[in-house]
Symmetry: C2
């Protein structure tokens, strides 16, 4: 009996499918073949196919790289905005203790 493969929540699968479809749509709008996109991305056509099929196990970097090549803006943000977002996240992170200690009091989910 084969070990059951990893499962993903519907929410995750849905989000992946959106990204995959965005990519396929953008590729066709650019009038690039799968092989052409593969070459530009430095990947194989097999991989492009996995991506457009929405394979969850395919690397995040490959998805993002392909999306970027096609001009799809991740986070609906340009590079400058992303820098700002990163900065804000880093600041918030710096305000939190470097470790989580389970001993300490209750969870304070104020967000």
């Amino acid at each position: 009996m084969a070990k059951t493969a990893r499962t993903y929540s519907n929410r995750t699968l849905q989000a992946i499918r959106v990204l995959a479809t965005q990519i396929q749509l953008a590729r066709k709008q650019h009038r690039w073949t799968e092989a052409e996109l593969a070459e530009r991305a430095g990947a194989s056509r097999s991989t492009i196919r996995m991506i457009e099929d929405g394979n969850p196990a395919t690397g995040l970097g490959l998805y993002f790289e392909v999306a970027t090549l096609l001009g799809i803006s991740l986070y609906d943000a340009d590079s400058q905005k992303l820098t700002d977002i990163q900065h804000t996240l880093d600041l918030k992170l710096a305000l939190l203790p470097s470790r989580i200690d389970k001993h300490r009091g209750e969870v304070f989910d104020d967000f």
Copy 2:
């Protein structure tokens, strides 16, 4: 001599880093340890570590699954909105030819 590893654009690396940081921040806000998040995600701590380090080769599904567990909304959209987006994308896709033919005329990048 080791074959040079895959490279990623700065734009891609930047976007990955943002997601990775969002995840680490959210984990700490939830007061979950790496091990705890790993267990909830059905993954190993090694993998959680790769994710929070922003490893580009780690699977998209793992990133999204962990993000979802932590309440991070992908695409700044709830499930209903994602369904709408998917529908719109499918419609646009249906309007395009099922194949790209390089013979045909110029690219018409009207987007």
